[in-house]
Assembly symmetry: C2
Homo-oligomer: 411 residues x 2
C-alpha cells in the first residue's frame, strides 16, 4: 500500500543509477582514450555539460588526462583516459571440486592467479577458508605497496536468487545449507562482495572480453561437471522469475535414457556432463583397441587431449556429445533467437572438433537454420573464464555506480 514504485528494481541487482556521470565514466572505460568533445557528440550532451562532469570525475582517480590527440582540423583535443590500474578486483570461482581466484585490474587483465582442488560439496567451511587463503596469496604477491582491491566477485555452481543471494547453494549442495560464504569473505577483506551463478558470470566474461563483445543478446553454455546456460538479453544477465533461468542440465533429451540424479530419465547432464563423457569413453574402450586411450583409465583431460590429437575414440565421444548438445541448442535458438551461442567450459578448447558436428545437429532442427546456426562458437577465454567473469561483475557494478566503492576515490 505504501511501497514506492518509482524505480524499476534493476534485474541485475546493480544500481544502474542513470546519472550522466556514470554514463560518461562507462563511456571513457569503453573507449579507453577519448576527448571531451567526442564524449559530448556520442552522448548527445553539450560540451559545457561534459566539461563539468569530467571535472567532477577527475578527482576520483578513475580517469585522468593522458595527453593530446590528433587534430580534426582545429585545436587538438585533450584525451581523457581510464586508469585501468586505479584499483584491482578479486574474482573467486567456486567449482564443483576446486576453488580458483584471480586478481584483475579494471581492464580484465589477470594479475595473479591461484587454483586448488577441494571437495567443495561437503566442506563449506574449508572452501571459504581456502578462498580467503588464495585471495590473500594473490594480494600478497602484489607486494606490500599495492592498493587494496575494490571488491570481490564470487561464482558458484548453483542458481542464485537475486532477491536473497545469501542463501544460495542449498538446493544443489545440501551441506552448504545456511552457510554464509559471502559474509565470511566480506568479514575477512572488508570490501563489497557480489555473487552469481558460474554460467551467468561466464556469459558476462564473454560479453566483456571474449567472443560476445558487442553482442547484447546471446547464450553461453558451460559444459563442466554440470551443464548450465548464461543468457544475456539486451546487455544484461537474464535470471527469470525465480533466478533459475538457464538451468538446462536437466532438460530431457531421451525419455528412454539413463536415470539421472534429479530423478528423471535421459537428462542432458547424463549424456554431456564430464562424468558422463568419461564413462562413455570407458564403455567404448574395448571397441577402439587402436586408441591412444586404450589400456589407460581416462579422465576428462586425457579425453580432450586425445580428441585434439584426432584419436578416433575421443572424436566419437565428442561427436556424440555435440549431437546431444545440438538438440538443446536448437531449442534455445528456436525459442530465444540469440545473436550468438558461445560454448564454454573445458570442452571449448576442442574448437571445430566440437562445433562442426554441433552445427550439423542444430541445422537439422531449426527453421531459420542458415542464419542461426552459423554463429555457434567456442570460448577462447580458457580455464580462468569463470573467475574473470566474477571480477567483471564487480567492474560492471563499479562503472554503474562508483560511489559503492569508497576505497577508490581515496587515493
Amino acid at each position: 500500500m505504501t511501497t514506492p514504485t518509482r524505480a524499476k528494481p534493476a534485474r541485475s541487482g546493480i544500481a544502474r543509477e542513470g546519472g550522466l556521470a556514470n554514463e560518461v565514466l562507462e563511456f571513457v572505460w569503453r573507449r579507453r582514450e577519448v576527448s571531451r568533445a567526442e564524449i559530448a557528440r556520442r552522448t548527445g550532451r553539450s560540451r559545457s555539460t561534459i566539461s563539468e562532469v569530467v571535472a567532477r570525475l577527475l578527482p576520483t582517480g578513475l580517469i585522468h588526462e593522458v595527453g593530446s590527440g590528433e587534430s580534426r582540423g582545429g585545436r587538438r583535443p585533450i584525451l581523457i583516459g581510464f586508469r585501468d590500474d586505479a584499483s584491482t578486483i578479486l574474482g573467486v570461482d567456486i567449482g564443483a571440486a576446486h576453488v580458483s581466484v584471480a586478481l584483475t585490474d579494471l581492464r580484465g587483465r589477470v594479475l595473479e592467479w591461484r587454483e586448488e582442488a577441494h571437495p567443495v560439496r561437503n566442506d563449506p567451511h574449508g572452501t571459504a577458508a581456502l578462498a580467503v587463503e588464495l585471495g590473500a596469496a594473490c594480494l600478497a604477491a602484489r607486494g606490500p605497496g599495492a592498493p587494496e582491491p575494490m571488491g570481490i566477485g564470487v561464482a558458484v555452481p548453483s542458481p542464485v536468487d537475486p532477491l536473497s543471494p545469501y542463501r544460495i547453494l542449498e538446493r544443489i549442495l545440501p551441506a552448504w545449507h545456511d552457510f554464509d560464504l559471502l559474509g565470511e569473505l566480506r568479514g575477512r577483506f572488508g570490501i563489497p562482495v557480489f555473487v552469481d551463478n558460474d554460467a551467468n558470470l561466464g556469459a558476462l566474461a564473454e560479453h566483456h572480453w571474449g567472443k560476445a563483445v558487442g553482442i547484447d543478446d546471446f547464450a553461453y553454455l558451460k559444459v563442466a561437471t554440470g551443464i548450465g546456460a548464461g543468457l544475456m538479453i539486451d546487455g544484461e544477465i537474464y535470471r527469470g522469475a525465480t533466478g533459475v533461468a538457464g538451468e538446462i542440465g536437466h532438460v530431457a533429451i531421451d525419455p528412454r535414457g539413463p536415470q539421472c540424479v534429479c530423478g528423471n530419465r535421459g537428462c542432458l547432464a547424463t549424456f554431456v556432463g564430464t562424468r558422463a563423457l568419461v564413462a562413455r569413453t570407458r564403455t567404448l574402450l574395448s571397441d577402439f583397441p587402436q586408441s591412444v586411450l586404450a589400456g589407460t583409465d581416462p579422465d576428462i583431460w586425457t579425453l580432450e587431449d586425445a580428441a585434439l590429437a584426432d584419436d578416433p575414440l575421443a572424436l566419437k565421444v565428442v561427436d556424440e556429445a555435440a549431437r546431444n548438445l545440438g538438440i538443446v541448442i536448437a531449442g534455445v535458438l528456436n525459442l530465444m533467437n540469440p545473436g550468438s551461442v558461445i560454448l564454454g567450459g573445458s570442452l571449448a578448447r576442442l574448437g571445430d572438433r566440437l562445433v562442426t558436428p554441433l552445427k550439423e545437429a542444430v541445422a537439422s532442427r531449426t527453421l531459420v537454420a542458415s542464419a542461426a546456426a552459423s554463429d555457434i562458437r567456442t570460448s577462447e577465454l580458457g580455464p580462468r573464464a569463470t573467475a574473470l567473469g566474477a571480477a567483471t561483475h564487480v567492474l560492471v557494478a563499479a562503472l554503474a555506480d562508483p560511489n559503492l566503492f569508497p576505497g577508490v576515490n581515496a587515493r
Copy 2:
C-alpha cells in the same frame, strides 16, 4: 562514426520516453481513479510536482477530475480518472485463413467486432481490402458522431523484424513478398499503424487483460494452424536478435517423426498444429466406434466440442497433444524460468482437460518441477485475444507517448 549512442534503442520500438508526464499518465490508467497526493506518494515525487504535471495532462482529455474520494483523516482528495472513452483503437487479426477486427476503447473493451474467413496466404490484396472493409464496418456501426480511432494494431501469423516491419510475411507467406499491408491501412485511415507477431500480441493481451496481469516474466503459447510463443521479459515483449524469438513450431521433438513442411522431421507443428490434430483424429476414428465423432468428418471445432463432452477419442487426441506440448514447455521452463506459462489459441477452451496431462508431462522433465509446473494455465480471453492484443499494442504506445497521437488532445 557519428551515430549518437545516447538512448538505447527501445527493444519494443515504442518510445518509452521516460518523462514524468508519461509515468503519471500510465499510473492513472492503471489505478483508474487516484488523487494527486496518492500519485505523489507512489511515484516518489512531491505533491507540487505532481500537481503541475496533472495540470499539463488535463487538457489532453485523457484524464479528468471525477469527484472526491474518501477522507484519510483530513481534506478529501480530488480523484483523477482516466477517460477510457477518450478515443478508440482498431485491432486487426490476420490469421492463416481469416481476418478479424476489433474496435476497442482505451480499457480493452471490445466495442465492435467483425470476422470473416479468407484465403490469406495467397491473396494479400484481398486481405488488405477485407481488413479495411471490416475496420470501416466497425467504425460505421458506432454512428456518425463517434470519434476517429487513435491508431491501428495489426497481428500477423509470422515473425516481425522490429527493424523493418514493412517487409514482414515473405518468409512464411511468399505471396506477400513486398506487399505493404501497413501502408494500405495507414493510407485508408490516416492514423498510426503498428504490427507485431500474433503470439507476441496474445502475450500482450494476457499481460493487460488476462491471466498474466501483474506478471512481468511469462511465456504465452498459441496453438493454432501453427504454433508460436510470445515471451514477455521484464514487462516487455522479447524478440531476440533478429525478431524470430518464440518460433517454436519447428522444434524437433521426435527425430523419427513425420516429415514437416519446413524440411525436418518430427517438428512440434506436425504433432500439435490444428491440422495435425484433425488428421490424428481421423486416423483413430476406427479404433473408437463409440465416439461421437465416429462416422463424421471431424474438424478442429467438433474435435474440441467432443473433448469438452468427454468423448474418449477426442480426449485421447488432446492428451497426446498435451504430452507433446509438455516436452517443449519443459524446455521453456528450464531455460527461461518464466513466472507463468499461458496457453492460448482455440485449444485453450479445453481448460483442465488440456492442462492436467500437460502438467504431468512437464513435471517429469523439470528439475524444479514443483515450483515451475504449478503455474501453467489456459487463457480465458477467447477468440478475440489476438485482435485485442493488437489494439493493446497501440494503447501501450499511446500511454508511453501520447504525443504520437495528435488526434487525441484535439478534442
